[in-house]
Symmetry: C3
Subunit: 336 residues, 3 copies
């Protein structure tokens, strides 16, 4: 893996209503009112290493799959093409769908080998219920994944890479300069382990967005060095006395997702900042990577090249090296 390559930041699909003028909205709804309907095609394709990923074009599958983006009020119609020889599906968290778009074999909602099937996802803003109560809208850092390969819960499809991020924004939300997807899948990060865990890069001062997703059979905690975020929907507080906890270490367990926006290097400066699972034997076994915050002009800050060299581990001596990471071979792509 070349230093500097960004893995995991697939091109986002931004629904065009992001820039639409808001239609008149009733006092009962807070959405944009424009309700864009977008249609895309996704391809489930085999990848090297016995993996399978989703992609937006043939031959373009990635792990994680492409980050899909919507604004509350939008609808997304996904025509999923299953190019593999096993059944699979696409099942989302957080958005609205009927039983035919559930993605579960329970509801017969999946693609047989070679089949193409359309799944429809809808979203909405919060709706006023009774009194102080508002029914939740769809905004959030969500995700999608297979739910049919290897049983009724898609366990094999998940292991092999069929997962990706889904962001639903609320009117007024900020759009980031950079977007990173971190999936703690089994004992891997995006189906990789150090020193091939994804390298995320940004320049000092940019607004970056982390989308974190958990999958598999193990519990995890996501930790990011030198940064912290409000433990709410956006990662930012709503005022100077907002009592929301601020965190830098958060549970990331199977099926769960969260996200946050932070200013890269905010208050700490540029550098090679670690992110990792904080379960000790998980980090020791490779669930660790780097969030590289470059200087504002994009140049490498002092010390960063040395840190990257340590991470990529030109020294693989037995036991624990001076490079700061337990020794292991580049061939060890651990699977769940």
């Amino acid at each position: 893996m070349l230093a500097g390559t960004v893995i995991g930041m697939a091109t986002p699909i931004v629904a065009s209503s992001a820039n639409a003028a808001p239609a008149a909205s009733s006092s009962e709804r807070g959405d944009s009112g424009s309700g864009t309907v977008r249609r895309i095609t996704m391809y489930a394709e085999e990848l090297p290493g016995n993996q399978i990923g989703y992609g937006l074009e043939p031959g373009q599958a990635t792990i994680p799959g492409p980050t899909l983006e919507m604004w509350e009020g939008d609808t997304l119609e996904i025509e999923l093409v299953n190019t593999t020889n096993q059944r699979l599906s696409i099942h989302p968290h957080g958005v609205e769908y009927d039983v035919d778009s559930d993605g579960s074999p329970l509801n017969g909602s999946f693609n047989e080998p070679g089949e193409t099937r359309t799944y429809v996802w809808s979203t909405r803003a919060p709706i006023h219920g009774k009194g102080r109560r508002w029914l939740p809208g769809s905004a959030g850092y969500w995700h999608y994944h297979d739910h049919a390969m290897g049983g009724g819960h898609g366990s094999l499809g998940l292991r092999r890479g069929l997962y990706g991020a889904l962001v639903v924004r609320r009117r007024g939300d900020l759009e980031p300069d950079r977007q990173f997807t971190v999936v703690f899948n089994g004992m891997t990060v995006n189906n990789k382990v150090a020193p091939e865990a994804p390298l995320f890069e940004a320049n000092l001062g940019e607004l970056v967005e982390f989308i974190c997703i958990g999958h598999g059979d193990f519990f995890h905690t996501f930790h990011l060095h030198a940064h912290r975020w409000a433990d709410n929907r956006t990662g930012m507080l709503e005022g100077p006395n907002d009592p929301t906890p601020v965190v830098d270490n958060k549970d990331l367990n199977p099926g769960s997702s969260f996200g946050f926006q932070v200013i890269a290097g905010d208050g700490v400066g540029p550098g090679a900042w670690m992110y990792h699972c904080h379960v000790q034997f998980h980090s020791d076994d490779g669930m660790a990577g780097i969030f590289l915050v470059r200087n504002e002009d994009g140049s490498l800050p002092d010390g960063a090249q040395e840190a990257l060299d340590r991470y990529y581990g030109h020294d693989h001596g037995g036991g624990h090296d001076h490079d700061g990471h337990a020794a292991h071979s580049h061939d060890d792509v651990k699977e769940e």
Copy 2:
């Protein structure tokens, strides 16, 4: 287990102060002021399969036990009759009790075999402390369980079924049309596994309340298809810009509990909607069931019967069936 039987929705005890006119309350307290004292008797009794449950009448023990309900300000006095040949107790989360009602052998607060003992639980509304700070009240989705059988922490009593839900409401809270208790106890749901995990039923548009409780030795995540809720005390937002995260997948670990209210089929329509632990091998091993949202008139929506048939698995062929669930025998009632 007959299709359509609802397990887990025991008759709730609703304290009569739900409808009481609020007494004059000081500006320092927010409770109803009526402070009802209610007395009930509960029976700990053996059940088939080497299980033990709590019940409100002799011969009526269930797993989970009856859902107890209180409003902030109420007191509940529970006369617990231990009909078994082992010591046991009842220990609540969230409410107030003195050391004699702790339910712990540490404090000598338990029933010897055959003994009857009274436990007293109190509740209150939030109290104004200093400045911006209010001391928490008792409102919440809580639970109760044994703390004495099989050691000082009730591990055997828990395994055998001695647990149940406890809801404390705050004045202004909505009361649901349906109420479901989901306990992830060891590797079971309410001491059952698919296809005998509880079936929860509601009609489209009803206000339903899920109470989720974790017990045992394993970590879990609770996921519900096609629905989502605000991750706060009620499951609903307080305004269109409320920054509370909205979730559909949440950690549910030993001793923890949470609850939420949602409109059945809100934005998605009727159908057989899965709920399950999202730890892959847990769902594959049976921690999965159905939340059946019927049509408004109570009839079965299209496709639901087929989904139920798949779930109840008339095809138990080896490996993975087309019924959407890993094959296993009806005899496999897995215990923790």
Copy 3:
């Protein structure tokens, strides 16, 4: 271990700005404006039982290490003296530091055996970003730990005891009468198991503060009997209708931390109140201790001596005793 000894409540360092008059602050910042810079020396030293701890004076190392306290706006410069024969470091959560103070071997930020090195931690109040968004400040219940002994993640240093609490307060926060640090490290509480888990003591009505930290390889849930707190930054609500969940059982996983303030014995009275991990086999295996709430005058309340006697287990008969705890020998100091 003598009954009544308080383990884990090391003398806190309170930055002097706690009492400073706030300087004029811009409308964009909410901090105290005084920005005290404090310098301390810490010593990493070996302790009996193959353990290592941090201390503020030579020969004064403890496990957990000293609780460090700051107010938003303060800076802390820590001169760390490594008296051991292995490399180690100090890495904080939540506060601001540059790569030289990261505490990670990745960034070459650690002490070789016998080396002294200075680490600088900064803090700030929330900063107004755009529109409704405020960038988080540093206030929170954080922690610090080794990140270099036994590999790039400090797994051996953590096991051996190199961890401690770090509290950053916001202007307006209440300071407690008592402060307790509870670290679920592996299968221990502060590197001890029952009956040597820390005993926390307070008098009825005092404002006590629990700081809870998770470390190691296992998941845990922290439960406290007879008390409950708001699941936010302070443990207290902001008003009578604050929708923040109130909890008494909370996930406490590796690298995570949280804290809360409660009134000792609030609504329940004095007594020997258990705290424990609620993962059943963890509590059965010793992750349990006592929070002793004495009478207001400091005397032992009725029943407390008996409870303490049961906990300290003068009866170590095989299997499960009547003392409320699984039998085990005083020699069993379980390590992770």
